[in-house]
């Protein structure tokens, strides 16, 4: 018996076709073998401006335009490569040092191979996205070369070769091809004698030695960076994850595993599917860094994760898988403040041996907790606890913080020796990060940006590397940038592609004078109306303007006119994409980070007085009893007569001598707005409160001089009421037109459990009842929460109630049932955001949908697709929250700066009581701060905590009794907080009670 095998070589096309084989596991559990054919081509250009051969063959797009070549014809040289060089990093180089590639001082003319790009995407999506961002930026000159599609550089995997080896070989082959190709083409042109070197960057020793054997110029990252200027700074930016791995092998015996190993992915997935394990996002308590909570869909209440061992290397924001602990380990959430810096001072960041996960002091602190739970014997209050058994997705970002000075050895401050230091992140929920640096001396006292690289089982803290320094602590620039980074606000200048989308006329753009112009089509001429805008002082981006006039039948015509941003920002162009990523304009005390370029935001869209502007108008006929007779929406052209500030408007309304048309219109509006408000309140709208203060700054230097609480004017609620009215009517209209895809905003009813604590506190302390059955009941019972002696008490309760609420969110109407649309706080059935398109992306989407609903224009596909809208909503919800937090943090910082060097005594109220401290809120400055027992006196006083009655009694070195809601007098001074390096106000208890 004989057998023969036909050979494939006889196929004439075999050299152009190859295939890729891999296994794909689908979500439904199917496992498929996938074979993809790869067609190899020879016209993929090298994209070097030195090369003329590729210029001829490179493919052109449909209109015959050749994408410009990327790599410079005069690349920068180094000592080693004086003739200039192109870089070809391999995947490890990118993984370890993405920050380097983003640096401005070096790393230009980089060839990113497709092999590397794909490998990077599999390894780390965030890094991949950053790299894509780099390849798009024109000045860095990063070129993606599709080496796996080019015949000459394609590499077939050999028998027994691992994927990594194959990819490394592909990288080497591409480097080889590039250098030969460039030599040839340079020779062909004959103008220059030296052609640039192609340098492979790799951290893989094996790869480097093979490259040497192949005769390719290659370099390890460190060696390459060492040859650059400012190498010290650059060297710090290389990830330590790899370095560590090497050293670990050396003292493998010594290294003891401090944490439990994570479960395998399949084990976690099986467990989650079975319901024996749970998956959720890990959140750290802001008061106790050893207490985390994970909300999982299976339970109403979050599960507690207590202690470092149970937290098992998860960091705030990670998606983790947890296992519920047996019932005898269930605990109450702590009533104690535990801060990392106070417990673990004076640690040595280099200490590898003898390290323990849980230090003695930590253990003691937890022990006390347990004791307390046991002593109480009230098992009913113990909460289920859990431990982390695995991390599904790390949500590590870049963290801002400062170097713990005590962790830097004195001798090393001067020298350039590399050493381990601790970085204390600004966000208290993030653990300390061990950073290896050569510039410890320089970065002390600076705000620095670091990233976490890894957290191994044998290391107590995560290991990271230095990215860059933002500047000295407490300088405005550094602190503002730190804030923006912490809250992930996009603050880079708008790229050119975005600016290209602006109208060519720039500031000279005007509403076309000829009514024949296409801009006038379907646009109503409302220039004759007496329209004015009312905004805070100094407002430049005027979104909205109003008018009112009596109608012959005794009713009023009221119009709300909103800047027509959708006219300038067309869907799916670069500007739209940028705006949808930014999501919202961020207001800091001294700075505004715009969602749209200045030209639009403060000029072309802004409804400035005395000029004609495009607008989107909502016009109602309203009876004197504030009943809406009918409403209509139209695109329009308006001319605002005046831009008032709230104060000016108020003065004008109050001044009886003013009888001009604008003022009477404002009086009408005010009259109607009061009626609207009353109606809303009757329907159960909540009037909530949050501490609001305004920082007054010097006009020149914008240094803070004073802090004022915001005063409330009638004109503010005038504007607010009509904006709410516009939002509600628009919401109804777009929902009617697009039941599946309308962009709406909802505010979920808070679960009862949220109010349990507050209701109990009010009951115990003031014998007041908080009814939370409906928003109406809540509103009424909040109104009843008054203390005749203390007018502020009501506001305090409102502030606390606000914190129990859910946050409002944008959503796409198709994703919720109609009853879920309700806005709890406004007691409105349906709501959206329509009135501030200059500063909120959601409003822009609503504008587009409304324009389509009134048949002004076609609805763009992007606002018609539910999936895309959901993604937009998800993003803007996050951005919105971040913007709010950044704004608050900015105020907090400036309040601290305003109080700098001053000592004031003020009244405050106790908001929260712990067993070893309490939180005081000072309404005058809108600040709240913690007073620890150990701050009360030099020697920490003994204390007894009555959790049932919320009373903390101290004895010994100082005797005080602090109870919840109590009025206290505190001395406010400023200190630089050791933990975060923030200048913060420090409160000291002067006396309790106002007596």
């Amino acid at each position: 018996m004989t057998s023969l095998k036909r050979s494939l070589a006889s196929d004439p096309y075999a050299s152009n076709i190859s295939s890729k084989v891999y296994v794909r596991s689908t979500k439904s559990g199917k496992v498929q073998k996938i074979v993809r054919e790869v067609y190899l081509r020879q016209d993929i250009p090298c994209s070097s401006k030195l090369c003329s051969a590729c210029l001829k063959t490179a493919p052109r797009d449909a209109s015959g335009i050749l994408p410009p070549f990327v790599l410079s014809d005069t690349p920068a040289g180094t000592k080693e490569f004086p003739q200039g060089h192109y870089l070809v990093p391999d995947t490890n180089a990118l993984l370890n040092a993405m920050d380097l590639f983003e640096h401005n001082s070096a790393f230009y003319d980089v060839i990113i191979l497709q092999t590397v790009l794909e490998e990077l995407r599999n390894r780390s999506l965030p890094l991949y996205n950053r790299l894509i961002g780099l390849t798009k930026s024109e000045d860095k000159r990063f070129y993606v070369f599709f080496n796996d599609f080019r015949l000459e550089t394609y590499v077939t995997r050999e028998v027994g070769e691992s994927i990594n080896d194959r990819n490394d070989r592909a990288v080497r082959k591409a480097v080889h091809w590039y250098s030969e190709h460039l030599t040839q083409s340079v020779k062909a042109t004959g103008q220059r004698k030296i052609n640039p070197a192609i340098v492979m960057l790799s951290d893989d020793k094996d790869n480097l030695s093979k490259a040497k054997a192949d005769g390719i110029s290659a370099s390890s990252l460190e060696k390459y960076v060492a040859g650059l200027e400012n190498s010290d700074q650059l060297l710090d930016m290389i990830s330590v994850a790899k370095e560590n791995r090497e050293t670990k092998d050396a003292n493998a015996k010594a290294a003891e595993n401090l944490y439990q190993e994570y479960f395998s992915v399949s084990k976690m997935m099986t467990g989650v599917k079975n319901g024996t394990l749970h998956q959720g996002i890990f959140n750290v308590s802001p008061y106790n860094y050893l207490e985390g909570s994970v909300h999982v869909p299976a339970f109403d209440k979050s599960l507690l994760v207590l202690g470092r061992e149970n937290i098992n290397r998860s960091v705030q924001g990670d998606v983790v898988v947890i296992e519920i602990l047996p019932k005898d380990q269930w605990k109450e959430p702590s009533t104690k403040i535990i801060e990392e810096d106070t417990l673990n001072k004076n640690e040595n960041p280099d200490a590898e041996d003898g390290e323990q996960v849980v230090t003695e002091r930590e253990r003691r602190a937890l022990q006390e907790e347990v004791k307390k739970v046991h002593s109480k014997g009230t098992e009913g209050r113990a909460q289920p606890t859990a431990r982390v058994v695995g991390v599904v997705k790390r949500n590590w970002r870049q963290y801002v913080g400062h170097i713990d000075e005590s962790s830097v050895s004195q001798a090393a401050k001067q020298s350039r020796k590399q050493q381990m230091v601790f970085l204390i992140p600004m966000d208290k929920r993030i653990p300390k990060i061990r950073v290896r640096t050569r510039q410890a001396g320089e970065i002390i006292g600076k705000r620095v940006l670091v990233t976490i690289d890894s957290w191994d089982r044998d290391s107590r803290y995560p290991v990271g590397h230095f990215v860059r320094s933002l500047g000295d602590l407490e300088t405005k620039g550094a602190e503002t940038e730190a804030l923006l980074l912490e809250y992930d606000v996009q603050y880079r200048p708008f790229p050119k592609a975005v600016l290209d989308c602006l109208p060519k006329e720039g500031h000279n753009w005007i509403v076309p004078p000829s009514m024949e112009d296409p801009g006038w089509v379907n646009r109503r001429d409302l220039r004759g109306l007496q329209i004015c805008s009312i905004d805070p002082i100094g407002c430049q981006d005027i979104d909205d303007a109003l008018h009112a006039r009596p109608l012959p039948n005794g009713n009023f015509e009221v119009g709300v006119h909103i800047a027509d941003v959708s006219h300038f920002v067309k869907p799916n162009n670069a500007m739209d994409a940028e705006a949808s990523i930014r999501g919202t304009t961020v207001y800091l005390v001294d700075k505004r980070i715009d969602m749209l370029p200045m030209l639009l935001g403060t000029d072309l869209c802004s409804l400035k007085p005395y000029v004609e502007r495009y607008a989107f108008s909502a016009i109602w006929e309203i009876t004197p009893d504030a009943e809406i007779v009918n409403s209509e929406f139209t695109k329009s052209v308006i001319k605002s007569r005046e831009a008032f500030s709230y104060q000016d408007a108020q003065k004008r309304v109050d001044d009886a001598s003013q009888q001009d048309e604008l003022t009477t219109a404002m009086r009408t509006l005010l009259m109607l707005s009061k009626k609207f408000k009353q109606k809303r309140m009757d329907a159960g709208a909540l009037s909530l409160s949050s501490p609001e203060v305004r920082v007054e700054t010097e006009s020149e230097t914008s240094d803070p001089i004073d802090v004022k609480t915001k005063e409330h004017l009638d004109t503010m609620s005038l504007v607010e009421e009509f904006m709410l009215l516009a939002n509600c009517s628009v919401a109804a209209k777009i929902y009617d037109a697009f039941p599946q895809t309308a962009m709406l905003r909802r505010h979920g009813a808070p679960p009862k459990t949220n109010f349990e604590e507050l209701a109990n506190q009010l009951k115990v302390k003031r014998n007041l009842e908080l009814k939370t059955d409906s928003s109406k009941a809540l509103a009424d019972s909040l109104d009843a929460c008054v203390d005749p002696q203390e007018p502020f008490f009501n506001t305090l309760v409102r502030i606390m109630a606000t914190r129990c609420m859910m946050s409002a969110e944008y959503f796409c109407s198709g994703t919720q049932a109609y009853p879920e649309f309700r806005h709890y706080g406004l007691a409105s059935e349906i709501y959206t955001h329509f009135t501030s398109p200059i500063r909120r992306y959601a409003d822009l989407v609503a504008h587009r949908q409304l324009a389509a609903a009134i048949d002004y224009e076609q609805l763009d596909a992007s606002v018609r697709s539910k999936g895309k809208l959901e993604a937009v909503c998800k993003n803007i919800n996050v951005r919105h929250r971040n913007a709010q937090q950044a704004g608050r943090a900015s105020i907090e910082y400036y309040v601290g700066q305003a109080l700098k060097g001053r000592i004031v005594e003020e009244e405050g109220f106790v908001m929260k009581v712990f067993s070893n401290g309490f939180v005081v809120f000072v309404p005058r400055f809108g600040i709240e701060s913690l007073i620890r027992l150990r701050d009360l006196a030099d020697i920490e006083p003994e204390s007894t905590f009555d959790a049932e009655n919320y009373i903390l009694k101290t004895s010994g070195s100082r005797e005080v009794e602090v109870e919840l809601f109590e009025k206290v007098v505190v001395r406010i001074s400023d200190v630089v907080e050791e933990g975060t390096g923030k200048r913060k106000v420090k409160l000291e208890l002067v006396k309790t009670g106002s007596k």
Binding site: S3, L4, K5, V23, S25, G29, V31, V35, S264
Partner: protein, 375 residues
């Protein structure tokens, strides 16, 4: 008896008689001058279908050709009540000493596969899929595959999941000779080349596989020496002669036809080495199944002896009954008479022996198939 399938061979009774006579000689003289146990050359290749887990193609010299594609899918196992009951019993037993060994046994018991994890379909041109021919072929092939009960154990992933194997067997040409051996050999090769993704998860977790196809494992690992899928061979007899790999003409005069399925016994450790005298390890073959096949020769037209032919001066029988009863008793040289009756038991034993004997036909076939380069 499995039905015969080949199309009617257009040979005259005289030709059939001639063929029969020459095959009855000792040694038999075959039309293509082969010895009785010699196979015709064939062309074989594997991994011809990139999208499958394993595939093969074999082309016989007479132009018959078959392709087999094998696809594996992960499937949830039905919970077996028996197993869980067993486990409960084991858990109740609190004898801790040999718990481990018991657990091993338990796992071994649970690793038992089910026959329904293999689905085989045979497609033959000109036949509907519910015709008896493809159905019988599939039944015979899966019978051989499942006969030893060890094959499906390879498909076990864990207590909750298993691979389901779909074998699609396709005859590309007309079924000129009885296609069973062709299909069997092709299936054998395809199974040899079948690879399944490497399992990464442990124990009873939802299975998770390595996404690198190069890391996938063979269903019949190369390391397991000499464990191979079964083959089914066709053996026919004429007189006392046993003839292998019959052509369709030879089948037309076969007195009995057997389909013999042969597999390899999993070797006990250490035992195999003892009687190795050559360098080559010895195959320990065993019989998995034997099926007699209705030989197509039964349907051939009989020759008419001179005594019954009026043209040669004989007297024709009055009725067909008379004619056949007369022929029953006649044994005339050179006049073709379709074979009647079954095969003799002794002969069947001899045929099986010829297949299984050391250095016999099965071994030769398996060696030949082993030599086919995989993928």
């Amino acid at each position: 008896m499995a039905p015969s399938s080949t199309q009617q061979v257009l040979l005259s009774p005289a030709e059939l008689s001639y063929l029969h006579t020459s095959l009855s000689l000792n040694p038999p003289v075959r039309p293509d001058a082969r010895t009785s146990s010699q196979f015709r050359p064939l062309i074989a290749e594997t991994d011809i279908l990139p999208g499958t887990n394993g595939s093969a193609r074999i082309c016989f010299a007479d132009g018959t050709e078959a392709i087999v594609g094998i696809k594996a899918e992960v499937e949830k196992s039905r919970p077996s009540y028996q197993a869980s009951a067993d486990r409960n019993v084991a858990e109740d037993d609190d004898d801790e000493e040999d718990e481990e060994t018991r657990r091993d046994e338990q796992v071994a018991k649970e690793k038992k596969g089910l026959n329904e994890w293999v689905e085989m379909s045979v497609e033959i041109p000109g036949f509907r899929d519910d015709d008896s021919m493809p159905v019988f072929m599939a039944a015979m092939l899966s019978e051989a595959l499942l006969a030893d009960g060890a094959f499906t154990n390879r498909l076990w992933i864990n207590r909750r999941f298993h691979w389901k194997l779909y074998l699609d067997i396709l005859l590309l040409s007309q079924p000129l000779s009885y296609p069973l051996p062709l299909l069997s050999l092709t299936t054998h090769l395809a199974l040899l080349s079948t690879r399944i993704p490497r399992l990464k998860s442990e124990e009873d977790e939802d299975p998770l596989f390595d996404d690198d196809w190069a890391a996938s494992v063979f269903l019949y690992p190369r390391t397991e020496a000499l464990i191979r899928p079964p083959v089914t061979l066709l053996v026919m007899s004429v007189g006392d002669n046993i003839i292998f790999d019959p052509t369709k003409e030879e089948l037309a005069v076969a007195e009995s036809v057997l389909a013999v399925s042969v597999g390899e016994r999993p070797q006990e450790k250490g035992q195999g080495d003892m009687d190795v005298d050559s360098g080559k390890p010895v195959r320990d073959l065993r019989l998995l199944a034997v099926r007699t096949i209705d030989p197509p020769s039964r349907l051939t037209p009989a020759g008419v002896p001179n005594t019954l032919n009026t043209a040669t001066g004989g007297t024709a029988a009055g009725t067909t009954e008379q004619a056949s009863s007369k022929r029953e008793t006649m044994e005339e040289e050179g006049v073709w008479q379709p074979p009647r009756g079954g095969a003799k038991r002794k002969l069947i034993a001899a045929m099986i022996q010829a297949v299984l004997a050391r250095g016999g036909v099965a071994e030769e076939v398996l060696d030949g198939l082993d030599a086919v380069e995989l993928g």
